[in-house]
């Protein structure tokens, strides 16, 4: 389906509903998105279980650090965790988190259980923020819970399918808008630098990737060895940057093309993999979340979703 048509549907719930009733291809697309999403939420729940284990270990380590170096940086942190919490508080919240994860996994999650899990994740995620990191650490993971509070998590009625589909599109838009914002900053920065012509290195400069990599690795005192042979030719990195710039800037439009979710997912995960290996830019939870949310489960598992005739 063309982009204009998908856009019309995205902004009009009535048109989406009408298309669902009359267009069998669109109806199939809706069913696939709903089914994939229900499975994705379950897998995300499992990931949250592992994340809670990681936080448990992180807190044990944090407790061994001098208490004085905890930094309450932004308003959110100052409001909810101005000083390092005591063990009883943290372990209680982690226990609540595990119970909620188990409940949400085995049963159809209640809205209240999703709110509790979101609050738990948001509060615990402050711990890694407290040591000089940007607040963006884990933010896509937190958003994947926060923005999903009002989404349906079980089979929906035929009557509600169109609205459920639209809520999921908004949810995905909320997640990928992070990439678009990042892309817009890069685009603005690149245009500014190209016009400013101030002798600094912009992203399309032949040595941009090499500079980025040297500084990225040297920041951690990782030896600058033969791995830098990969920067011998500059054009693949320049082309690669342009692809990433387009991918990030226009990421929000992926919600209009559910059939391309997997391609998007592969592209984003590849981008993070290259960032980790070539530039020592360590994003771990974020590509995992994107992979889980955009994976086409319906192509592997038999379609089990029935849109009920209620």
């Amino acid at each position: 389906m063309c982009m204009i048509h998908q856009l019309r549907l995205f902004f009009s719930s009535d048109k989406t509903k009408a298309a669902f009733e009359t267009d069998s291809v669109f109806r199939n697309q809706v069913k696939n998105v709903l089914q994939d999403h229900f499975i994705a939420r379950k897998v995300l729940n499992i990931l949250t279980g592992f994340w809670l284990m990681w936080i448990l270990e992180e807190y044990r380590i944090v407790m061994l650090r001098p208490a004085s170096i905890y930094i309450a940086d932004n308003y959110f942190v100052r409001l909810f965790m101005p000083t390092l919490p005591c063990a009883l508080q943290v372990y209680s919240v982690i226990a609540i988190g595990f119970c909620t994860v188990a409940y949400n996994f085995y049963f159809s999650p209640l809205r209240i259980s999703k709110v509790i899990l979101t609050a738990t994740v948001m509060w615990l995620n402050i711990l890694p923020w407290g040591y000089g990191f940007f607040s963006h650490v884990g933010h896509v993971f937190v958003l994947s819970h926060l923005l999903g509070i009002f989404l349906p998590d079980v089979n929906v009625s035929k009557e509600n399918a169109a609205h459920s589909y639209l809520s999921m599109q908004w949810y995905y838009l909320g997640i990928v808008a992070n990439y678009s914002m990042s892309g817009i900053w890069k685009l603005g920065g690149l245009i500014y630098k190209l016009f400013a012509n101030d002798g600094t290195i912009h992203w399309l400069h032949p040595k941009a990737a090499l500079y980025n990599s040297i500084v990225g690795f040297h920041k951690y005192d990782i030896p600058l060895t033969s791995q830098f042979d990969i920067f011998h030719f500059s054009w693949p990195w320049q082309v690669g940057f342009l692809i990433i710039l387009l991918l990030q800037t226009f990421a929000v439009f992926i919600v209009l093309f559910p059939k391309r979710y997997f391609l998007f997912c592969i592209a984003i995960v590849t981008m993070h993999f290259v960032n980790i290996t070539a530039f020592a830019i360590m994003f771990i939870w974020q590509p995992l979340v994107i992979f889980i949310l955009f994976f086409p489960y319906h192509k592997i598992f038999n379609p089990t979703l029935s849109i009920e005739n209620k």
Partner: protein
């Protein structure tokens, strides 16, 4: 009912985006980041784009030693290299901005924690040119930021 719930997700996402835009402005205006889940401005320029880069490093010695030794960033039992670098940078910046005793003590607590076996410490600002350090890792300028 479902339509109302769909609208809630839609408004939640819109609110999140708007708060992010407000956060961009509030951070720029010096009021701090009011919404921590969206504002994302990383790598809008390549690292080292000004061709000169500065990093902080801990130098340490025993009282009887004549010279300070450079302590390379390394995984510590309680800090990964990433946590080490960001925490050190943040604590040094906090101290440099305020020159307060409290911030100096916090920085000392960190330094003593990651390099406990020494008696005297300096925080050195190392300034290097990426292409030069790529050829020879020992080519950088140093300036003393803080002495403990």
């Amino acid at each position: 009912m479902q339509k109302k719930i769909y609208l809630l997700t839609k408004y939640l996402v819109i609110a999140s985006l708007l708060l992010s835009v407000v956060s961009i402005y509030s951070t720029k205006a010096g009021w701090g980041e009011i919404y921590p889940f969206y504002f994302w401005k990383l790598y809008s320029q390549p690292l080292g784009n000004t061709k000169v880069v500065s990093e902080y490093r801990i130098y340490a010695k025993q009282k009887s030693d004549s010279a300070f030794c450079r302590m390379a960033v390394k995984d510590n039992y309680t800090f990964t290299v990433g946590e080490y670098v960001y925490t050190l940078h943040r604590l040094v910046t906090d101290y440099s901005n305020t020159r307060s005793e409290t911030n100096k003590n916090r920085l000392y607590d960190f330094v003593k924690h990651v390099e406990p076996e020494y008696e005297q410490y300096e925080i050195i600002k190392e300034t290097y040119r990426p292409l030069e350090i790529f050829k020879n890792e020992n080519v950088y300028d140093t300036s003393v930021e803080i002495i403990f």
